[in-house]
């Protein structure tokens, strides 16, 4: 049997980063859900608590999906989309703030931009080969039919075994037969 292992190191690094991002998502999400007021005050986004809370729920959901999923790539891409939304929301508020709030906002923007870079790197690494390498057909099972003859010749070989009445399609759904 052939064996075509790829280089796994890139893949496991991306998976490691993905786990980190997953936990980060959950931590940030919990903060946003638990104390939205603290955030909106610091960023001059008063009145937007429910938006922040919704973003928090999004973070928690994405984070736990990344941690649970065997293939975290789509969820990390989901984070990238979320980052874009965060940046847009923060950017929109920048102009009409006092200097202190602008400084806070600037910090927040820089932080999100940094995380976005990590997200994009990780999502790319996961979806480009690196994450998929472990899934190359490593072994060849094309000869594993389990049948003594080609499948086409096996078709219907067990039709003689009676199907119990309670397993049959409901009478009403069986092909109509007159008489």
């Amino acid at each position: 049997m052939q064996n075509a292992y790829g280089n796994h190191s890139g893949s496991s690094r991306a998976h490691g980063v993905a786990r980190g991002l997953g936990w980060f998502s959950i931590a940030l999400g919990v903060a946003e859900v638990a104390a939205p007021r603290a955030l909106t005050r610091a960023l001059g986004m008063d009145g937007q608590e429910s938006l922040v809370r919704a973003y928090g729920l999004r973070e928690i959901a994405t984070g736990s999906a990344i941690l649970r999923s065997e293939n975290p790539a789509p969820w990390v891409w989901g984070r990238v989309a979320g980052d874009a939304l965060d940046l847009a929301t923060l950017g929109a508020g920048y102009r009409n703030q006092n200097p202190q709030q602008q400084r806070n906002l600037g910090l927040a923007l820089a932080a999100v931009a940094g995380v976005t870079a990590a997200d994009v790197w990780c999502a790319r690494a996961l979806s480009n080969g690196a994450g998929q390498q472990a899934r190359l057909p490593m072994r060849d099972y094309r000869d594993r039919s389990g049948f003594p003859r080609p499948p086409a010749e096996m078709r219907g070989a067990a039709r003689h075994l009676s199907i119990p009445r309670d397993m049959r399609a409901p009478e009403a759904l069986q092909p109509y037969r007159a008489g």
Binding site: R68, R79, A134, P137, G146, A169, L173
Partner: protein, 390 residues
Amino acid sequence: MRALCWHGKNDIRYEQVPDPVIEHPRDAIVRVTSCAICGSDLHLYDGFMPGMKSGDIMGHEFMGEIVDVGPGINGKVKVGDRVVVPFTIICGECEQCRRGNFSVCERTNRNKHIADKVFGHSTAGLYGYTHLTGGYPGGQAEYVRVPYADVGPVKVPNGLSDEQVLFLGDIFPTGWQAVVQCDIEPTDTVAIWGAGPVGQFCVRSAILLGAQQVICIDRLPERLAMAEAGGAIPINFEKESVVERLNDLTNGKGPQKCIDAVGLEAHATATIDSMYDRAKQAMMLETDRPHVLREMIYVCRPAGTISVPGVYGGLLDKVPFGMVMNKGLTIRTGQTHVNRWTEDLLGLIEEGQIDPSFVITHRVPLERGPEMYQTFRDKHDGCIKVVLQP
């Protein structure tokens, strides 16, 4: 004795545990010669199923030799008999057992009072599968106590190897029942989601029962290759649109019969094109669990059948029941009524119509179980089915 024990998510240990003893007159003790890791074990390993306790012995797919029997067995099995033990524990006498609905036996769940609360009415006891189904110690061990041993175990002839008959205890009848429930017509297209061990047996069963066209959907090339070897048309859901391909293969009408051999840990397709959709999906659903069910309900031909051997644990989000109702779909599901099928399937094996060992990709000693759980879960090393030897 030694056994594989559950200690929490991702934590299976090979440990020393007390030897089982006869606790009831209808018990027997089986010395396990071969056992397997099942996709259902992964739901416990991944921490998706409630009701496990630290130290529980895993495993419900096993066979071996009877080494001790209780006084109430009445000669139905004897010391020295070689048996496969179905994963559903049955009494053989209750109303459900008499109807052949073995997986919902009314008497074998020792924790019936809890199950009655959780499910409305209790189902059968299962080996190595949560305290909701009786908390019976499982078969990934050197020895197992087999309750109701006069009715459950299936005697197997010595001419057949362990590997040929082991899967009679679970995945072969499971794939078979999933297809039987579809009541195959010779004109049917059967679409099977999941090319894991259960999906593989669905493919073979659909061919044996005479379906015109069998299609299997997964994303792992080695599993799809094995499904193709058994006569299925493969669809890689990471590379192509499942709904489009299925409609193409059925003149736009959709498959009459759809089988979910994936269960609650389904992956969402990577073909969801916009990132926004992904984020939105993440917001609404904590995981992508019922993804396969939704896809099946959507693509199934009206008046068709949805058969669900895949295991689900609790509540599913956004299952389009309106579609089920308006399309007049039939849904059939359940843990497998193993003993209903073992005689027929053993017959097929003896006649040489099928050799279930085709699915085995890894054979290791029991002590390597913990590592094999991970290999099987992560689908590494081309792993499809692991057989363990105590």
